[in-house]
């Protein structure tokens, strides 16, 4: 797969003038008065880049993703997303930053009272777009992830793999500039896992920065990409 060239040259294609999509500087994170779950984390995610985030369970992968998603704020250090420093960010600015990201949650977070079609269309709907304007896109993406026959089904009736694909489709539908995925292939068979990974790589080729949290080494070996390894509350960058 050709992710390496994308990763390596993606930003340099534009003369290295692009701001990083995500920048962490000496970020520390603790919940309440407990110990820091993340310490001195510094990294950047360049535009058009592809990287994995890995580490043992409980190492703080999900917390790191939540920091990027701005659903929690760092205890210390500096987080900037799309060039915007996030401490004291207004809620309007927060909304517009989130519209530029797509996220696949480990537990999918599909809305159980909405059909698969409505779930996947949600990011476009909350932008105030008319249903007719995005119908074709949503249906095509649903067919591509193999949910063409399941679009009228409510999530409780979907299998784990189907939920996962629906969650991925929802993250991709608005063509985000940054895609965050938390164990996106955890519930699917290896063949479908590869197919979904190829979708991420393809999305990356089209310009989206991708960060996939996983501890599936077989999956990571399929793409030659940078790896952020979390362990002992710290981040090591490989590759």
């Amino acid at each position: 797969m050709d992710a390496r060239t994308d990763r390596g040259t993606g930003s340099s294609l534009l003369g290295g003038m692009d701001e990083p999509v995500v920048r962490f500087e000496n970020v520390g994170m603790r919940y309440g008065v407990g110990q820091e779950v993340l310490s001195d984390i510094s990294f950047t995610i360049a535009p058009h880049s592809f990287q994995f985030l890995t580490g043992p369970s409980g190492a703080g992968k999900t917390t790191l993703l939540r920091l990027i998603l701005l659903s929690v704020r760092p205890s210390r250090g500096l987080v900037s997303v799309f060039g915007e420093e996030v401490s004291g960010i207004s809620s309007d600015a927060l909304t517009s930053l989130r519209r530029r990201m797509g996220v696949v949650f480990q537990d999918f977070r599909l809305l159980d009272h909405l059909t698969t079609y409505e779930n996947v269309a949600l990011p476009l709907r909350v932008q105030g777009r008319a249903e007719t304007s995005y119908r074709a896109e949503v249906v095509e993406l649903l067919r591509w992830v193999g949910l063409g026959e399941r679009m009228h089904v409510l999530p409780p009736l979907l299998s784990g793999g189907e939920k996962q694909r629906a969650a991925i489709a929802r993250a991709l539908i608005a063509r985000p500039e940054l895609l965050l995925a938390d164990e996106p292939t955890g519930n699917v068979d290896p063949q479908l896992g590869r197919r979904l990974l190829r979708l991420f790589v393809e999305l990356n080729r089209l310009g989206t920065s991708v960060l996939i949290a996983t501890h599936d080494f077989a999956l990571m070996d399929l793409v030659d990409a940078r790896r952020f390894v979390l362990g002992n509350n710290r981040l090591r960058i490989e590759g």
Partner: protein, 325 residues
């Protein structure tokens, strides 16, 4: 995966989606496409609709009752104010018939008076029957005589009163019902004021009930709110979704309450008509003025239903905004 396995369609799909040139989708007609983002048909929602229905019902009944009193009072005032009464007291050695004729002539000569109708001695005695019983010979009793005077404009009653006092001193007196009218008007205004206050209180209670229900719904839908935030919904969008849901609940509750109130008022009117056929009917009609609330009453009942729904929507929106900020 191997490079040879690459599906060419992958990139093509995304690129086509990017250019928004995807082929027209043939969706099954039964596919639900725009379901409410906040689940609507929950037991809490039904309970809230029931509370709003009951409150609207009570408020609408109150408004209807106040309207009946107000319109009856206006009718009474209208008919009473169109009439004044001259009372002639009999005195020893006086020709009461002559006094009555003289007073009636004086009144008839006053501009703005349409007609005078002196009560004869027999009629005056009959007026006492309900108190003294029938079959009595009242010939020896000094029964006062009445002249009802129907007004056609706004005559100078002060001048008439003075002329009567001069012509028949201590015998004739003019009663323009002013004291009675002012009491009636005070009573009617009090009832209307109490009705308006109760309607206000009920709407306030509706607002508070909706505040609690909205908070409950926000807590119960925390997951939904969070997901909406993550997929890029702003607070205003989320508040609108909650408002839409609660407006619908309020509309349902308000409509049920208003229709029930209209039914009760309609049934009350039908019962009143039924009783009117009986001996007590005249008194009931005199008291309730026919138990009809007129278009203004119906309009205010409907308006209360609408206001209850609007209050529901606005309060839920404000609550959500405060919750999210």
């Amino acid at each position: 995966m191997s490079r040879g396995e690459t599906h060419m369609s992958d990139g093509a799909t995304l690129e086509r989606a990017a250019r928004r040139e995807a082929p027209a989708a043939d969706l099954p007609p039964t596919l639900r496409r725009n379901a409410a983002l906040v689940p609507t048909d929950t037991s809490a929602g039904r309970a809230l609709a029931a509370v709003i229905a009951i409150l609207t019902f009570l408020a609408a009944l109150c408004a209807g009752g106040a309207e009946i009193v107000a319109s009856s009072a206006a009718q009474w005032q209208g008919s009473v104010a169109q009439e004044v009464t001259i009372q002639i007291r009999p005195g020893p050695g006086r020709d009461t018939e002559a006094d009555v004729a003289k007073a009636a002539a004086l009144a008839a000569a006053t501009p703005g008076i349409a007609a005078t109708r002196p009560f004869t001695k027999a009629e005056s005695e009959r007026l006492l029957e309900p108190w003294l019983g029938s079959g009595l010979d009242l010939g020896d009793l000094p029964v006062p005589r009445l002249i009802t005077v129907r007004l056609s404009g706004t005559p100078d009653l002060g001048a008439l009163r003075q002329r009567l006092a001069e012509a028949l001193p201590g015998v004739a007196s003019l009663d323009d019902h002013a004291l009675w009218l002012s009491r009636l008007s005070t009573m009617a205004n009090t009832v209307v004021g109490v009705g308006v206050a109760v309607v206000g209180l009920v709407l306030l209670a509706t607002g508070l009930a909706v505040t609690f229900a909205t908070r409950g719904a926000m807590a119960g839908n925390r997951e939904v709110v969070e997901v909406l935030h993550f997929v890029g919904a702003d607070a205003d969008f989320i508040a609108r979704e909650f408002q839409r849901r609660f407006f619908r609940l309020g509309l349902r509750g308000g409509a049920i309450g208003a229709v029930a109130a209209l039914a009760v008022i309609g049934a009350g009117g039908a019962l009143a008509r039924l009783w009117r056929a009986g001996p007590a009917g005249d008194e009931i009609e005199a008291l309730f003025g026919g138990f009809a609330i007129g278009w203004r009453g119906y309009a205010s009942v409907v308006l209360i239903g609408v206001i209850a729904s609007v209050v529901t929507a606005v309060v839920s929106r404000l609550t959500v905004r405060r919750f999210l900020d």
